[in-house]
């Protein structure tokens, strides 16, 4: 397993896209968060959850994280590298485990940087837009329990999105197909969850689709009115990630490469 991990780490480290995609994840997440913090103003959105606001970029940065994780697996299929990999590492579940570990590691680091930068941008920009103690809104601080939970949770959210993408890519073996499925899941259902006319379906979509449920981890206000609790929501996303990884692992084991 240690060798498998070492091999996967080497592949990930030396692939030309990795550094670029990780940098893009950090820049997009932090940049979009800062932009959101700069354009949302009080009055107007005084009731906004300032922690969630400063973490808006996660919704955009997740696309590059998903791309990275998909490529970790589908890249091997498109170049034919997978046959060499499987010849060197015949224990396929261990291979998937090693890939998952390597992806988790890099996304944890990049995600932490991105989330920290987002919160910092929020802390610096939000008071200038009217989110001040005058309106009963304290500046963002990690000493505040829910904010810390949202920050840690957002990093975990990105990791789980990466694992979900890795699982989908393992099952589908094609970059375009896997990316389409993952981004469709992440971006179409949140729109449907808002515009759906039947409140029962809005509620279902908010509770059970990976993006909407997972994003509950960022909420720090009015927790009682959320369709799903923060950790329960992240749990739903974790279940999605586990299910796709399991499906991908089974297919990887059963099929010829």
């Amino acid at each position: 397993m240690r060798h498998a991990l070492h091999a996967e780490w080497t592949k990930l480290r030396t692939a030309p896209g990795t550094a670029l995609l990780l940098a893009a994840s950090i820049v997009l997440t932090a940049g979009a968060s800062a932009l959101a913090a700069a354009i949302v103003k009080c009055p107007g959105s005084c009731s906004a959850d300032t922690t969630k606001l400063s973490l808006t970029g996660v919704m955009i940065g997740q696309a590059t994280v998903a791309t990275l994780a998909v490529l970790v697996m589908s890249g091997e299929y498109s170049s034919g590298m997978i046959r060499v990999t499987l010849a060197a590492m015949p224990r396929r579940p261990a291979l998937l485990g090693a890939k998952a570990a390597a992806v988790t590691g890099v996304v944890l680091i990049a995600g932490t940087i991105a989330v920290a930068a987002s919160l910092l941008a929020g802390r610096l920009l939000e008071p200038g837009n009217g989110f001040t103690t005058h309106h009963g809104i304290a500046a963002l601080s990690l000493a505040h329990g829910p904010t810390l939970r949202a920050a840690v949770g957002s990093v975990l959210y990105l990791v789980l999105i990466a694992l979900l993408s890795l699982g989908a890519a393992t099952a589908l073996r094609d970059t375009a197909a896997a990316l389409t499925v993952v981004l469709g899941l992440l971006y179409i259902f949140p729109v449907l969850g808002v515009v759906a006319l039947d409140p029962a379906w809005q509620h279902r979509i908010a509770r059970w689709t990976p993006e909407s449920a997972g994003m509950a981890i960022q909420a720090t206000r009015n927790l009682g009115t959320l369709p799903i609790g923060p950790w329960a929501g992240l749990g739903v996303l974790a279940a999605w990630a586990a299910a796709t990884l399991l499906a991908g692992g089974l297919l990887l084991r059963l099929r010829d490469a």
Partner: protein, 543 residues
């Protein structure tokens, strides 16, 4: 003597170097890739089926709540107009019966509003005292039943003189507000079924503003002076989703002078009455509805007469009723599933060539690279257009049928057929926006040469703005729907909007700031820009 070496010439005849063989080559490439054909069929199927599924879960309008954009209070004030459409018909009318042909002339020297009532004013600090679409003028109506046919010539504080009839028709006349120093003379003449509106600045030189043909107008009509002032409505969305909407009735007062009648008018006095029901505070199930809490009821109008001058106060509006929710458009969000598959196919149509090295063969066979890109664009655009047309037509017909069965019925919601103007625009528009999305994907694929980057980038451009538009505040949300390719989704709007009706509608409700084809033009501009950059890069770079 040196021998001459004859260079080798192949016995094969040279192939055609035309554009048609190039198109055929690209079509063959598409047709023979099983995955692409399956993905395109899946896109058509998703475009057709997802909207039908979404329509199926759109519960019919629940009168107990305001969540569907039509509160009980509004429902009680909606009348049915001459063409069977939902209308607002609520105004103060100082009228007399007019038998046969005749005319009425008046000079309006003042039209002022009082704005939202004092109790509500703190809630609407931005509210103008006078609504831009307040109306005062001369009106001829088949009867006093709300929704009955009418024609009117009027002045408005913000939109000049207007000639309007049967709720949906609006003709602009001379611009400018009225004042005591510059009164506006208006005249409305009935000749058979034709009503003609005139306007004058001095009472001697008249210009025709417009005519209205009210077929089947009874011999005796109600004619007189009217004043209306629509509700002041603010609608906004704040960060994190959710909207705040609030409205308050307003009132306006107008001064009419030199009232002159021609024709068979009675000698009796003028009757003043409010046409239509008076709006009550919004209540549902005995509880105040959050979106319109604390409303003051609409004040009934009144009039006073001194000599030839009338002072008339009124409230309400005479206009088509525009519901906020558009159930068909909501169902058509299902076409996003098709769009995302089309983005994948459009990107891979060129990135697949880079991955397999096929691009070198393609460019060797057709060294003029711009033409290769053009052929690819025509082939993928046409295929997507055909798949989109089939999918959208099926989606439209079945989603509309399902919505009707669920209670989204006329007069408030239209029952559009496939051949109606809206049906054609929605179906052709959906297919066209999918085709242009495919072109955007092709351009991104050519520029980035990697499917992962191209797909992510195009989804970020076309679909992500729709996600952000429902969670950002009004300003940034409308900006996104104005300048990103997502503006084209306005083609899927099925509610008719009128320039003479101000609706507080925000992206959260699926409202787009641009008109349908204007939004589509924005997407086309992105595609043209993308393909232009792609053509330049394809020519400059080594394959």
């Amino acid at each position: 003597m040196a021998a001459t070496i004859t260079p080798y010439r192949s016995g094969q005849r040279a192939g055609h170097d035309g554009f048609v063989p190039l198109l055929r080559a690209e079509w063959t490439k598409f047709r023979t890739m099983r995955g692409w054909v399956i993905a395109m069929l899946a896109a058509a199927a998703a475009t057709a089926l997802a909207p039908i599924a979404l329509a199926g879960i759109a519960k019919s309008n629940d009168p107990e709540t305001c969540t569907h954009g039509l509160c009980q209070v509004e429902a009680s004030t909606v009348a049915t107009g001459p063409d069977g459409e939902a209308v607002t018909d609520s105004f103060y009318f100082v009228h007399q019966p007019l038998a046969g042909n005749g005319s009425l002339t008046a000079a309006i020297s003042s039209l002022r509003g009082t704005g939202p009532s004092l109790r509500k004013r703190h809630q609407f600090p931005q509210a103008p005292r006078t609504e831009p679409w307040a109306k005062a003028g001369i009106l001829v109506k088949a009867g006093t039943r709300p929704g009955s046919p009418y024609a009117a010539i009027m002045v408005t504080p913000g939109h000049g003189v207007r000639m309007q009839d049967d709720f949906t028709h609006d003709i602009a006349g001379p611009a400018g507000p009225v004042s005591a120093a510059s009164p506006r003379w208006l005249r409305l003449t009935r000749t058979g079924d034709t009503l003609t509106g005139y306007s004058s600045a001095d009472g001697t030189h008249w210009t025709t503003v417009g005519t209205a043909d009210l077929a089947g107008l009874p011999a005796t009509v109600q004619a007189g002076l009217f004043v209306a002032s629509p509700d002041y409505t603010v609608e906004s969305q704040s960060f994190g989703g959710g909207d705040q909407g609030s409205s308050s009735p307003t009132q306006a007062t107008a001064v009419f002078g030199s009232v002159t009648r021609r024709g068979d008018w009675p000698a009796s006095a003028w009757t003043g009455s409010h046409i239509g029901p008076l709006e009550l505070p919004a209540k549902a199930g005995g509880h105040c509805v959050a979106s319109s809490c604390g409303d003051t009821p609409q004040q009934p109008g009144r009039f006073t007469r001194s000599g030839g001058a009338f002072t008339v106060a009124g409230s309400g509006d005479i206009a088509p009723f525009v519901p906020i929710v558009d159930p068909l458009q909501v169902a058509l969000y299902g076409t996003l599933f098709g769009a995302i598959a089309i983005i994948a196919v459009g990107s891979v149509f060129i990135t697949g060539e880079y991955r397999r090295g096929m691009i070198r063969t393609t460019l060797a066979a057709s060294p003029r690279r711009g033409r290769v890109l053009a052929a690819k664009a025509i082939v993928i655009g046409t295929i997507t257009l055909a798949a989109g047309l089939a999918g959208a037509a099926v989606a439209f017909v079945f989603a509309e049928r399902k919505l009707t069965a669920l209670g989204w019925t006329p007069p408030v919601w239209h029952d559009w057929s496939l051949t109606s103007q809206v049906g054609v625009r929605v179906v052709a528009g959906t297919a066209a926006l999918l085709a242009v999305t495919a072109l955007l994907a092709l351009a991104a694929g050519t520029i980035l040469r990697r499917s992962a980057g191209a797909i992510t980038a195009v989804i970020g451009l076309v679909i992500l703005p729709l996600v952000l538009a429902v969670i950002l505040p009004t300003g940034p949300a409308e900006w996104l729907l104005r300048y990103t390719p997502a503006a084209a989704f306005s083609l899927q709007t099925s509610t008719l909007r009128y320039s003479q009706v101000t609706t507080g509608c925000v992206p959260y409700h699926g409202c787009y700031p641009l008109a349908p084809w204007t939004g589509f033009a924005v997407m086309c501009a992105w595609a043209v820009l993308g393909l232009g950059v792609a053509a330049v890069l394809l020519r400059r770079r080594d394959a």
